[in-house]
């Protein structure tokens, strides 16, 4: 088994340049959560005020809407949601300095181009393994839009949170490359 690369947020260009599609990575440090509703509101507000609820420069956004924490838990189950739904908003955020996103599934061509252009990476976490992934989250803080409930923007502290580099700055795509190896039927 290939050893995982360990990285810490915020991410620098140097770290990004060293990541290739297919790499296993363990992420440490603070990341921000946002999914459909938070992205929509965040970018509508940015259009009006020129401000975002947090400084995205160097940061990573995790596309997740966790379940509520049970007593004794830091956070409930917290696996990734499907990333392409955020494609409409992602290039804008990457242009403002966001360095990473974490989700599951394919990204569209406009996001892949923006990753190259702005030097950023899209990581895939193991979808649906939410009870396991929550164990790598050790702190949670509310950041904005609390009224959105599970869709609010929170800060999560990651302890070796496992992901795979899905799309890198060199045009690599782990899903396309992986599936090609095992595809015997083209439909």
């Amino acid at each position: 088994m290939v050893e995982a690369k360990i990285i810490t947020t915020p991410l620098t260009d140097e770290v990004i340049e060293n990541l290739r599609a297919g790499d296993k990575v363990l992420i440490n440090g603070w990341v921000y959560t946002a999914r459909d509703a938070a992205h929509k509101r965040m970018l509508e507000e940015y259009e009006k005020t020129g401000k975002l609820p947090f400084d995205v420069r160097g940061q990573v956004i995790y596309y997740v809407g966790p379940t509520p924490a049970k007593p004794g838990q830091v956070i409930g189950s917290a696996g990734p949601t499907t990333a392409y739904r955020m494609d409409k908003y992602t290039p804008k955020l990457l242009g403002l300095g966001l360095k990473g996103t974490i989700g599951k599934g394919w990204r569209g061509p406009e996001v892949k181009e923006a990753l190259k252009k702005y030097k950023a990476v899209y990581f895939a976490a193991y979808g649906g393994t939410a009870a396991l992934l929550s164990k790598h989250i050790t702190k949670v803080e509310m950041v904005a839009y609390e009224d959105l409930g599970p869709e609010a923007i929170r800060k999560l502290y990651f302890d070796n949170f496992p992901v795979i580099v899905a799309n890198d700055i060199y045009g690599g795509d782990v899903f396309e490359e992986g599936q090609k190896k095992y595809r015997k039927l083209v439909i």
Binding site: A78, T82, G105, A130, A131, G178, Q179, R183, K184
Partner: protein
Amino acid sequence: MREIHVNEIIDKVKDLVMDSEYKLPEDFIQAIKIAKEKEESPLGKEILDEILKNAEVAEKEQVAYCQDTGYPVFFVEVGQDVKIVGGSLREAINEGVRRATKEGYLRASLAYDPIFDRKNTGDNTPALIYFDIVPGDKIKIKFAAKGGGSENQSKQAMLKPADGLEGVKKFILQSIANAGPNACPPFTVGVGIGGTFDYSAVLAKKSLFRHIGERHPDLRVAKLEEELIELANQLGVGPLGFGGTTTVVDVKIEIAPCHIASLPVAVNIQCHAARHKEIEI
């Protein structure tokens, strides 16, 4: 007439929902174990192992298997000799969902309206409930927690009768390939062929309650199911779409009579959070 009080229904629905969210069906777990042995991709094998571990942790710690605790969908068969007392059956089912959401720490995952404010309803109600009246004096309640990721990748098509069996196969396989990593494979694929536009989709969803490996009683349909399982696993999608030989663990097909001008087909993709469970009261 046998009387059933709504309080009994509320309690049983609450337990049904919570149990389903914490523990995947045993037949599905067994299917993943078998798939893990057969999977050719090393990463695919590792992912299937993580899926099994996740199921273990969720059951042991009584926490949601997936953070997307899903849209609550019920198929309720009410015996015609049953009298519901103490209130409305529909409200009792919704109350069960409400209590499961609160007491079971489930995520509120429904929006009041689809295109205006999209405000969260806060308690996973209103559930989607399909009622049927059947002979007997019992109530059968089938529950599915339908996650957004896999529901979003589901497809329906009104094919032409001339498209025939080949057209149907192609549409099903294309739907599976397109769903790819977005919908958390390995999938259980529910297919409805025939009926009307809407009924084909209901059949597809209903078919997912069949046990893994339980073939359709019509041998022609059973053969088609087997063929599609084999072909789907040649698509290369693999566990979570990273490539591999396990794309589906099962394909379940239901058929119904249809109009002489029509060939409706619906494909309901079910992710590995295959939460389906039924009870009888």
